[in-house]
């Protein structure tokens, strides 16, 4: 489809509307179904379920998906590669290693006070993600060469992943908890987690929008962008920072949810053609919607049990992309 500019707004508004509807549905479904919503006004526990569990979880799912979608769009622009995802710089493995270390030191061991443990897991995941990216940057000696950056990211990812696996195997109690983290889950998002993600999302969106022009110039080629006076080095550093921040914030709260970062920009581009700035914003919206819907399905399909949300994002996003490929092949068009 090739929609012109006015339809971009239509697309964005439609998605926003879907998100609002999604939030409404999200608040209504769960193990106790609609009755919690109905009883919320006079039953304390029902109120708690709606306001303290379902609402932050639904909004948090949207925020996490938005962070991942944004990071995916930025990563694809930075590496000029449609197969890039936000975990390419090693942040996923870094977060995993952080969680493994935190679990190993404080997990099975009751010494740690509650507050420390609470900060510990999410803080450790975030710190691990940051550390991995710093190592990647050091290994690649800066952001100048994207190929080197890519390779360094893969190396750091593999090495840190191996270290995390090692810790998990030495400590079987850690292994089980880590598998939960690796699978990715929106089930434990409370208000603090949700708000942290929103506070990270908003400035990232603004910055991504501002740097849109630079990403567009970069898509014409590095030498062209340089010749146009685009501060490539500074821009790359900022984008790497944004990707790391957004990914780290999401992963710290939800674990590793695959596919959202990779698929969201592609889903957007399959419907509208936009410049990089708009692509980043719309990818955030699309990623948020994707994870929101996946979260709703995860807890309503086999209620009162839950499916892993990562499986649903892969199924939802993947089937749409498969359908797109099939449709493109039939039409003989090359995407």
């Amino acid at each position: 489809m090739n929609l012109n500019k006015s339809n971009h707004w239509l697309f964005a508004l439609t998605m926003l509307l879907l998100v609002v509807i999604g939030i409404g549905i999200g608040v209504s479904v769960g193990s106790s179904g609609l009755e919690s919503l109905q009883n919320a006004w006079h039953d304390d526990v029902a109120w708690q379920i709606i306001w303290q569990i379902r609402l932050p979880r639904t909004l948090g799912a949207f925020a996490a998906g938005a962070l991942l979608g944004l990071a995916g769009a930025l990563a694809q622009g930075l590496f000029r590669n449609p197969l890039a995802d936000p975990y390419l710089l090693g942040s996923a493995s870094g977060a995993t290693l952080g969680v493994a270390l935190a679990l190993a030191f404080y997990g099975g061991n009751q010494f740690a006070p509650d507050a420390f443990v609470r900060v510990g897991l999410t803080g450790a995941a975030f710190a691990g993600a940051l550390l991995a990216v710093v190592l990647t940057l050091l290994l690649a000696k800066g952001v100048q060469h994207t190929m080197r950056l890519l390779l360094a990211g893969v190396i750091v990812g593999v090495v840190m992943g191996a270290m995390a696996s090692l810790i998990a195997l030495m400590r079987p109690d850690v292994l089980q908890n880590m598998q939960g983290f690796l699978l990715g889950s929106t089930a434990f998002i409370g208000w603090p987690a949700c708000l942290v993600m929103v506070y990270v999302l908003l400035p990232c969106l603004c910055l991504a929008w501002f740097f849109g022009f630079a990403m567009d110039a970069l898509s014409l080629g590095e030498s062209t962008a340089l010749s146009l006076g685009v501060p490539l080095r500074a821009m790359r550093i900022v984008i790497v920072l944004l990707v790391t921040l957004a990914t780290g914030a999401a992963v710290a709260q939800t674990g590793l949810i695959a596919f959202v970062g990779l698929a969201a920009p592609h889903l957007v581009r399959s419907i509208v053609s936009v410049k990089s700035g708009s692509l980043a914003l719309l990818s955030a919206l699309m990623g948020g919607l994707l994870l929101l819907v996946a979260d709703i399905l995860a807890r309503s399909l086999i209620a009162p049990q839950e499916l892993p949300v990562g499986v649903l994002t892969a199924v939802l996003g993947g089937s749409y992309l498969l359908w797109l490929m099939y449709r493109n092949q039939n039409q003989g068009a090359l995407k």
Binding site: G30, S31, S32, S36, V45, A46, Q48, I49, Q52, I53, R54, L103, Y106, G107, G108, N109, Q110, F111, P113, D114, V117, R118, L121, L169, M170, P172, D173, Q176, N177, Q179, G180, F181, S185, A187, F188, G190, P192, R299, P304, Q305, E306
Partner: protein, 286 residues
């Protein structure tokens, strides 16, 4: 060993103190949710089975809890279901994010992960306290368990003692070390563990280590047996060749690996295995 116990006791007191800080421990818990099978069994052993309102998907004993709603697993508890049941006590293992979340929602959460006999005794005491069970009653439960295990160990004949045992917990392989509750039961039954306490409580062993150690008797769950036989060199183990491998059905495996009140049953299963397989050997080498 004594030092270990002391540390662990300190651990649990700390845990008890820090988790009970937010809660009112003067009132015994009336609506209990347990997310660990061994803790479910502990609650029932203390006579509070009827106060359970929800359990995890793996809890399957006693029969009376079969109708209780399942709250997910230990690692992935269903937060909403748990909150909806309005529990005043949630029992779960170790540190999962679920525990943090439940605590942040104002629920009273006790995290216990017994690894050996001392832990189990402490767990009984801690859970008993939270349930309002008088200390003498929870002590009595523990003394009963202990006494029965002693009885079983006394009934093990001489020829069945001093066997070198390898107990495989899961097919990575993870074995039960001397310091685990399984290892301690084996000790009391007079058996020797090829995995010394220095290797850890549930160490991941290299298959080669087991081959070198040449255990007299192997204990494993029946679903893992074929995988075990496929390991290089294992079919040549003398224990394998002479059939001194005890396999346990899933129900029996549950009993064996849960550090709870059914340890007596576990001891019985293990002693039966020891006696059977040693008798076979005794017949072969008169």
């Amino acid at each position: 060993m004594a030092r270990h116990t002391g540390m662990l006791y300190l651990c649990f007191m700390f845990c008890l103190l820090s988790s009970s800080y937010a809660a009112d421990t003067t009132k015994p818990a009336q609506r209990i949710i347990s997310l660990l099978p061994s803790l479910t069994e502990t609650v029932c052993a203390l006579g509070a089975c009827n106060r359970l309102v929800g359990v995890d998907r793996y809890s399957n004993w006693p029969e009376s809890i079969a109708q209780l709603p399942r709250m997910g697993g230990g690692i992935d508890p269903n937060i909403e279901s748990i909150v909806a049941l309005k529990p005043d006590l949630v029992l779960m293992a170790g540190s999962a994010r679920g525990g943090e979340r439940l605590k942040s929602l104002g629920l009273t959460v006790l995290t216990l992960e017994p690894k050996n006999y001392a832990d189990i005794q402490i767990a009984l005491g801690v859970v008993g306290k939270a349930l309002g069970v008088p200390a003498k009653d929870s002590d009595r439960v523990w003394r009963d368990i202990n006494a029965q295990v002693e009885e079983i160990s006394k009934s093990v004949p001489q020829y069945a003692k001093a066997q070198r045992v390898y107990f495989e917990v899961s097919p990575v392989p993870f074995g039960a070390g001397d310091g685990s509750f399984i290892g301690e039961t084996l000790q009391r039954l007079g058996a020797r563990n090829i995995l010394p306490a220095s290797m850890g409580i549930f160490p991941q062993v290299s298959p080669e280590f087991v081959v070198r150690a040449q255990p007299d008797i192997i204990m494993v769950g029946d679903s893992n047996l074929s995988e075990m036989q496929a390991r290089p060199g294992w079919t040549n183990l003398s224990a394998m060749r002479t059939g001194r491998v005890c396999t346990f059905t899933p129900k029996e495996s549950d009993v064996l690996v849960r550090p709870g009140p059914r340890m007596v049953e576990a001891a019985r299963l293990m002693s039966q295995c020891l006696v059977e397989k040693s008798a076979a050997q005794a017949k072969q080498n008169p």
